[in-house]
Symmetry: C2
Subunit: 99 residues, 2 copies
Amino acid sequence: MSLSTTFHALSDPNRQKVLDLLKKKEMAVSEIAAYLNITLPTLSHHLDILKRANLISSRRDGQRILYSLNLSVFEEVSEKIIKFLSLKSKKPKLDNFED
Amino acid sequence: MSLSTTFHALSDPNRQKVLDLLKKKEMAVSEIAAYLNITLPTLSHHLDILKRANLISSRRDGQRILYSLNLSVFEEVSEKIIKFLSLKSKKPKLDNFED
DNA sequence: TGTATATTTAGATGACTATCTAAATATTAT
DNA sequence: ATAATATTTAGATAGTCATCTAAATATACA
């Protein structure tokens, strides 16, 4: 997953809210929706983007589908971003950019 | 500046390269261009986006325009992003999102 | 003053985004 | 089986994005 894909996934306020919610606990779609002013299809779309960015996962529980943060991936990604933001990095290997 | 604006500014690989270059030193547009496979107008556009996100500044030096990282802002922004990425954050005040 | 160099602005294009309503799918309960 | 609940998919729309070429602006040099 490229840094750009990750940054893009994080660049929408509704997706940021979703992640903030899922940091606390696993949640069903309609439960998440209660915190956002968007329709369920739109939320579904955002969840799909976060899923493709590998930041969250889902599992079915009866009628509901529960979404949760991909903890380990999220941490990896955070590391990567922090490294990118770091000013002390000596050799930015420009040719090695994934993008 | 909202987190979304910042994430968006960071979500393009060419802009990431520009920032990585400017972390090292102040650079003229054509100097930066040498590292990227885009035309000067496109680079100019990216510089404008980074500038609007308050991540970089420019000053004229003769014919050239030198771009540099807004060090203090860049650090502030990094802090903000790191806080957002932090899993230990207790109370994500969802209603207080800038976005 | 005219020419070369550096950068930005204007205008266009095709791709992608967030959003919606309506319809489809899947599960549970009666 | 039928109805209710939960979520996703389909299809449309208006807006934004990265990119380009061509033209404009600004500075320096001869």
